[in-house]
C-alpha cells in the first residue's frame, strides 16, 4: 500500500498546531510510517517551490492551520488547495479565525498605525512596512496586510475541520485514523462530536437544576470551587455554547471554558447565541438592574467572539466608519 502524501502548513497562527502534531508523541512515529510528509515548514526543509513543482491534486491531504491575513498566506492556501485532494482546516484560526481573528475588531489601518507609529517603544522614525521597498540592491517585497482576517474556508474551499486551539490530540488521532481508513464523514463536517461541552464536563453532576446568577465574577475576583459547576458559581463559562471533544482541559485546570473549539453545527453565530444563553442565566427585571449585571461582563464582544470573530455573521463592521461605508455603497 502506498503511503498517502500529506502537507502541514501554517498561515496566520502561532505554531501551536504544529506542536499539537509533535505532541502526538510515539503516535507520530506510526504516522510517518503511513504518511509521506511532503511539506512542513516547521519541521522539514521543503520550500514553497517544492510544492509548486507538484502536479495538481498530488498531495492527498493538506492540514492547514492559521487564519488568512496576508496576501502571502492567501497564495499559499490557494497553492495547497490546488495541489491537494483534501484540505483540512486545522485548529481554531483556520476554522473560525481564532485569536488573530480579533484583528477584525479594528481596521487594518489602525493595526499598522498602532504597531509602527504609535507604540511607546518606537524610535519614531515614521517608517511603516511597505509591499515594495526599493533598496540599493533591488526591490524587496512584503506580502500585503489585508483589510480583514479571514477563515480558511472564506479563502479556499475546505473539506474538513479539526477544531480547537490547538486541536485536542484525541481528535487529531481520530481524524488520522478516519483519514487512513478512508472512513471520513460527509464533506464539510467538523471532525469532533457535535454536542456541547457540558456533555462531557467532569463537573456536570454538580450542575444545579436551574441557574439564577445574581453576580458575574471574573476568575481572579473569587476562588473557584474546584468541584462545582463553574458557571453556577457565577464565572462566565462558555461551556454550554461550546462544542465538546477536548475533554475540558481548562475546566480541569479550574478555569472557565473560553470557547476555543467553537460552536456545534446547529449554531449560525457563536457570539449571538452566546448572548442568548448568557442573558438567560440571570433574572433582573428593572432596566438599571439588568445594566448593572451586564456591566459585570467586561467586553462581551471580545468574550464571545474571542476565537471566532471572522466567522461571525456580522463578519466586520468597523466602528465609526459608517460614513465611509455609505460612500462605498452609494
Amino acid at each position: 500500500m502506498v503511503n498517502i502524501k500529506a502537507a502541514f502548513n501554517w498561515l496566520a497562527s502561532c505554531g501551536g498546531c504544529e506542536e499539537a502534531i509533535v505532541d502526538l508523541h510515539e503516535e507520530l512515529l506510526n504516522v510517518v510510517e503511513a504518511v509521506d510528509i511532503v511539506y512542513w515548514p516547521c519541521a522539514l526543509d521543503f520550500k514553497k517551490e517544492d510544492v509548486e513543482r507538484m502536479t495538481d491534486g498530488e498531495i492527498d491531504v493538506s492540514f492547514i492551520n492559521g487564519a488568512v491575513r496576508t496576501s502571502d498566506e492567501e497564495e499559499t492556501a490557494v497553492l495547497l488547495r490546488r495541489k491537494s485532494k483534501y484540505v483540512i482546516a486545522f485548529g481554531s484560526c483556520a476554522h473560525l479565525g481564532g485569536i488573530p481573528g480579533m484583528g477584525n475588531f479594528i481596521s487594518a489601518k489602525e493595526i499598522l498605525r498602532n504597531s509602527y507609529l504609535e507604540s511607546p517603544s518606537l524610535n519614531q522614525n515614521e517608517m511603516t512596512p511597505q509591499v515594495e521597498t526599493r533598496q540599493p540592491e533591488g526591490i524587496v517585497t512584503l506580502p500585503r496586510f489585508c483589510d480583514s482576517v479571514r477563515t480558511l474556508d472564506q479563502t479556499i474551499p475546505v473539506d474538513y475541520y479539526l477544531p480547537g486551539c490547538p486541536p485536542p490530540t484525541r481528535l487529531i488521532k481520530e481524524a488520522l485514523r478516519a483519514l487512513l481508513g478512508g472512513e471520513l464523514p460527509a464533506r464539510g463536517s467538523v471532525l469532533a462530536p457535535d454536542i456541547a461541552q457540558c456533555h462531557e464536563c467532569p463537573r456536570k453532576v454538580t450542575k444545579p437544576d436551574e441557574f439564577h446568577i445574581t453576580e458575574w465574577k471574573r476568575p481572579h475576583e473569587a476562588v473557584i470551587d474546584p468541584e462545582r459547576c463553574i458557571l453556577a458559581q457565577g464565572f462566565l463559562c462558555l461551556g454550554p455554547v461550546t462544542r465538546c471533544g477536548c475533554d475540558s482541559p481548562c475546566i480541569k485546570a479550574n478555569m472557565p471554558c473560553t470557547g476555543c473549539i467553537g460552536p456545534i453545527s446547529q449554531i449560525k453565530d457563536y457570539g449571538a447565541k452566546a448572548v442568548a444563553a448568557i442573558a438567560s442565566l440571570f433574572d433582573n427585571r428593572e432596566e438599571h438592574e439588568i445594566e448593572a449585571t451586564l456591566d459585570q461582563i467586561i467586553d462581551p464582544a471580545g468574550t464571545v467572539y474571542r476565537y471566532c470573530l471572522p466567522a461571525s455573521q456580522l463578519f466586520q463592521r468597523l466602528p465609526g466608519e459608517n460614513k465611509r461605508h455609505n460612500e462605498v455603497c452609494a
Binding site: C42, L112, P129, A253
Partner: protein, 338 residues
C-alpha cells in the same frame, strides 16, 4: 541587474521567515534581507480586552513557547494588580516554567536546530529533520526524546490545563495546585530530565565538539556576532528563567546595565524597517546604528546563548562544569545557532 535568491519559507523554526539574498555581479552575496512576512496585530486587538485574559490571549503569539508569553503576561498582571504571589504560587509557576523549557529545548535540539549537526548540513533535505536525527542517533534516542517530552507535556497539562496555551495564570496566583499523591510524578520527571540533558550533552559533545569541522565552523566569523547580550539573572547574576532582573552585557562580557523587567522602556527601543513586519530592538541609550555589531551599535542578542553570555553562570553547580566545557576561554560565543 544583480541576481536575487529567495529562501521561502525559512524552515525548522517557529514563525514565518523569508530571506532575500542579493548577489552582486561577481555572484557574491551583496546583501541579504531576513524578513518576517507576517503580522497579526496583538498589540492592538488586545486593547479593550479584560486584563485577566491577557495570559491566554498573548500565549497565542507563539504556540511553541506559549508558556513564556503566558507567564510574562501573568507576571504583568501581578504588577498591574500590585499583588505579590505567595510562595506556593511562585513555586508552581516556576515548576511550570521549568517543565516548559526542558520540553522546549528538547524540541529545539532534536527537532529544529539539532538536525543541522546530527545529520549534517550536506544531508539531503528529506533527511535534515527529526527523522534523520532518529536515523542517526538511533530509535532508542528517538524514543527517549519522545518519551521525555510526553512525560513533561503531561505534567504541563496537569498544571496548566493545556500544555499548549496553558490557562493557569491569574493575577497573584494560579488556578490549580498539585495534590500530594501526584507530587512524585514531578520529582521523577525532574530526575528523568536531568538524565536526559546529560544524554543530550553527550550527544552534543560526540556529534559537535568532537567534529573539528563543526567547531571551526561555528567559531568562525560567519557564525559570530559581537553584540550586546541580554538575559535574566538572579541576585548572583546566575541564569534565572522565572524571575529576576534583566542584565545586559557588552560584547566583551562586562556588565552594561541591569534593570527590573517593568522598566524595559527606559532601556530598549524598537526600530522599524520598511521591508519587514518585525520590529528591531536596540538599546535606547546607544540608539539605532543600523545592522552593525560591536560596542557602538545598539543591536543586542537574546535567547539561550545570550542568556548564558549575560549571566555569570548557572545556579546549579553540576552545570557549571558542563558550561565551561562548552566555552573555552578564547571564544565567548561559539554556538550561535544553539
Amino acid at each position: 541587474m544583480n541576481r536575487k535568491i529567495v529562501i521561502d519559507p525559512i524552515t525548522r523554526l517557529e514563525g514565518h521567515g523569508k530571506i532575500d539574498i542579493f548577489l552582486n555581479n561577481e555572484g557574491d552575496v551583496d546583501r541579504a534581507y531576513f524578513q518576517v512576512p507576517e503580522l497579526r496585530g496583538f498589540e492592538k486587538f488586545a486593547q479593550g480586552r479584560p486584563s485577566e485574559d491577557m495570559p491566554q490571549i498573548t500565549s497565542r503569539i507563539c504556540g511553541v513557547c506559549p508558556t513564556a508569553h503566558h507567564m510574562a503576561a501573568t507576571k504583568a498582571l501581578d504588577d498591574l494588580y500590585q499583588v505579590k504571589p505567595p510562595s506556593a504560587t511562585k513555586k508552581l509557576r516556576e515548576l511550570m516554567y521549568c517543565l516548559f523549557f526542558i520540553e522546549d529545548h528538547a524540541l529545539h535540539f532534536y527537532f529544529l536546530g539539532g538536525p543541522d549537526f546530527v545529520v549534517g548540513p550536506d544531508a539531503p533535505k528529506t533527511q535534515r529533520n527529526i527523522l534523520g536525527v532518529i536515523g542517526q542517533a538511533g530509535l532508542e534516542v528517538g524514543k527517549k526524546v519522545i518519551g521525555l517530552r510526553k512525560e513533561v507535556r503531561e505534567l504541563m497539562a496537569y498544571l496548566g490545563g493545556k500544555a499548549i496555551h496553558p490557562v493557569m495564570g491569574l493575577p497573584g496566583g494560579v488556578s490549580k495546585g498539585i495534590v500530594e499523591e501526584d507530587q512524585p510524578r514531578f520529582i521523577d520527571a525532574a530526575d528523568h530530565a536531568v538524565e536526559f540533558s546529560q544524554m543530550s550533552l553527550e550527544i552534543f559533545h560526540d556529534v559537535v565538539l568532537k567534529n573539528p569541522r563543526y567547531v571551526e565552523w561555528v567559531t568562525s566569523e560567519t557564525y559570530t556576532h559581537k553584540t550586546y547580550y541580554m538575559g535574566m539573572v538572579d541576585e548572583n547574576n546566575n541564569v534565572n528563567f522565572y524571575e529576576g532582573r534583566l542584565r545586559i552585557v557588552k560584547p566583551n562580557g562586562s556588565e552594561y546595565c541591569k534593570f527590573p523587567p517593568e522598566k524595559y522602556l527606559d532601556y530598549i527601543a524598537e526600530h522599524v524597517e520598511p521591508w519587514s513586519y518585525i520590529k528591531f530592538c536596540y538599546l535606547k541609550e546607544i540608539g539605532w546604528k543600523g545592522f552593525q555589531e560591536g560596542m557602538d551599535s545598539g543591536v543586542f542578542a537574546v535567547a539561550p546563548l545570550a542568556r548564558l553570555n549575560a549571566a555569570r553562570g548557572m545556579a546549579a553547580r553540576s552545570l557549571r562544569k558542563r558550561m565551561t566545557a562548552c566555552f573555552n576561554s578564547s571564544v565567548r560565543n561559539p554556538f550561535i545557532t544553539l
